[in-house]
Amino acid sequence: MRIRVGAALAILLVLFFFSLCLANSKDNGGQGLGGDVIAIDAMLPYGERERPPVLFPHDRHAAYSGETGCLSCHDERSGDGSGISFAFKGRKGLSGNEIRDLYHTECIRCHAEGVATKQPTGPQICGGCHVRDKAVPTSSSYAIDFDDSLHFTHTEKATLDCRACHDLLNGDDSEKSGDSMSPGLSSDNVSHDLCITCHLVDRNHKKPSGPLSCKACHALPAQSLADLNPSKDVARGGEVLFDHDLHEMADISCDVCHHKEPDTRCSECHTDGDSSQGGGISLYAAMHTRNADRSCIGCHDEMGAGDVDDCTGCHAPFRTGNP
């Protein structure tokens, strides 16, 4: 009896050992970490997560979106030419476990449909999407190499006005209606909202349009980009060639502009980011706010220079054509 029990136990242990070896020989999941990977961390505001966030490969999903395209997963915004809402379809107004249930229901349903229709599809098991020990990409993991050539494409080929992009990119959305922007967008997401909406609306109107896939813009890891553009701080256009003498001759006091110490540069307090320094006024706002008598545009308006609507009156033009 003891021999039989021991033998059965030994066989089971050997089988267990081999299955362990077999299981460890394969890699976890199939998630890559390319420029299209979005970390779905919708449960983050509701306390500690039970599982790792899903690293969602957006381009891989978009490729199978079929005839409905973006609308497979996103709601259309109201109004013509408003594009799509970047939130997941049906997510607005939900909170806590409702969001979790929505993602589970929709993702698993779609993956199961893929199996039923014999299409390439995603996992249906927990660990297939919630993969442990994967570095969560940040928004800056894959930057866009928006070089002179790309700038030229937007200004000359697409004939976009400077302010079409730069107002929103610098946090001034006063001329956009509230419905146009997705509610609660962080400043990091404004560029997505701006670029993708523009590309999408052009495509819907059968006009030549920019790309919609993530990797088409986010092609290079940020580290590589820094290597490619070691001289990114060198002026390539857009800089203001400020004539100090000309302003001295105008009937304005020094401390209108130099409202701190004379040697303090504007950018020391008014930063580009969302910092609360400089009274929460960004460098862009400090220069461009129309109703402030200390900003460039506000002062020019007050001095009777007329409405400033031509950026190249102050900013040097960008180089045209390919660099």
Binding site: R2, V5, A23, K26, I108, V115, A116, I125, C126
Partner: protein, 225 residues
């Protein structure tokens, strides 16, 4: 594969489990004979039910009966195993999500960390139970290979779940292994000693009534048989 084992195979497993358990209970009750057992089940129903509930209750509570108190180490191992084995699958958040998704049934869920500790407890306790079967002479003499097999069958869903949750190795392999071993467990219940899932209650009700109705049970609270 996943569709099949969580579809038709799951329903087959559940059917065998529930029908098998029902048949076990039905056969147990049918096998009772008040003349043979000399228990007046029907005439002393109140005393019988009281004693039955008392027997079940005290046997479910750790150290609630003399037998539990006589074997404290075994009692701890036993409860560590059974509490984890019963509570974890019922109130696991992942199972709750599946129930909600599949059938719209809401089940309260415990934090994953608690489930993880309980699962580890099941695995450790299973090792303890195995050692007991191999080392304690009076238990070893009663042990058959079938008993060892049943123990492995019971532990397999937990071991595979632990591997899948911690993603040690291939998560798909372990998840499929977890589902299959869980289904194998369900199917095995009616055909092995795992049928004690329902027969424990039957035995306790019968013995509780037996000793509650006769042998002085109606005169005092007596001994919790």
């Amino acid at each position: 594969m996943y569709q099949f084992i969580t579809g038709p195979l799951l329903w087959l497993s559940f059917s065998i489990f529930f029908i098998g358990c029902f048949v076990h209970v039905a056969l147990y009750i049918r096998g009772l004979d008040f003349q043979l057992d000399r228990i007046a089940y029907n005439t002393n129903i109140v005393s019988g039910v009281k004693a039955a509930l008392r027997s079940i209750g005290l046997w479910l509570v750790p150290f609630g009966t003399r037998c539990w108190r006589q074997n404290p180490v075994y009692t701890l191992i036993f409860y560590l195993f059974h509490v984890g084995a019963v509570v974890t699958p019922l109130f696991l958040s992942a199972h709750s999500v599946i129930l909600k998704y599949r059938w719209g049934i809401y089940m309260p869920a415990m934090p994953d960390v608690v489930a993880d500790v309980l699962t580890a407890g099941v695995l450790v306790a299973a090792c303890g139970l195995l050692l007991r079967r191999m080392l304690v002479p009076e238990v070893r003499n009663l042990t058959t290979p079938r008993d060892i097999g049943v123990l492995f069958l019971s532990v397999a869903p937990f071991a595979t779940a632990f591997m899948a949750y911690h993603q040690i190795g291939d998560v798909t392999f372990w998840t499929i292994a977890h589902i299959l071993s869980g289904e194998l467990f369900l199917v095995a219940v009616p055909f092995t000693k795992l049928s004690h899932i329902v027969l424990f209650f039957c035995s306790r009700i019968q013995i509780g009534m037996d000793f509650g109705i006769k042998r002085g049970g109606v005169k005092s609270s007596g001994f919790p048989w």
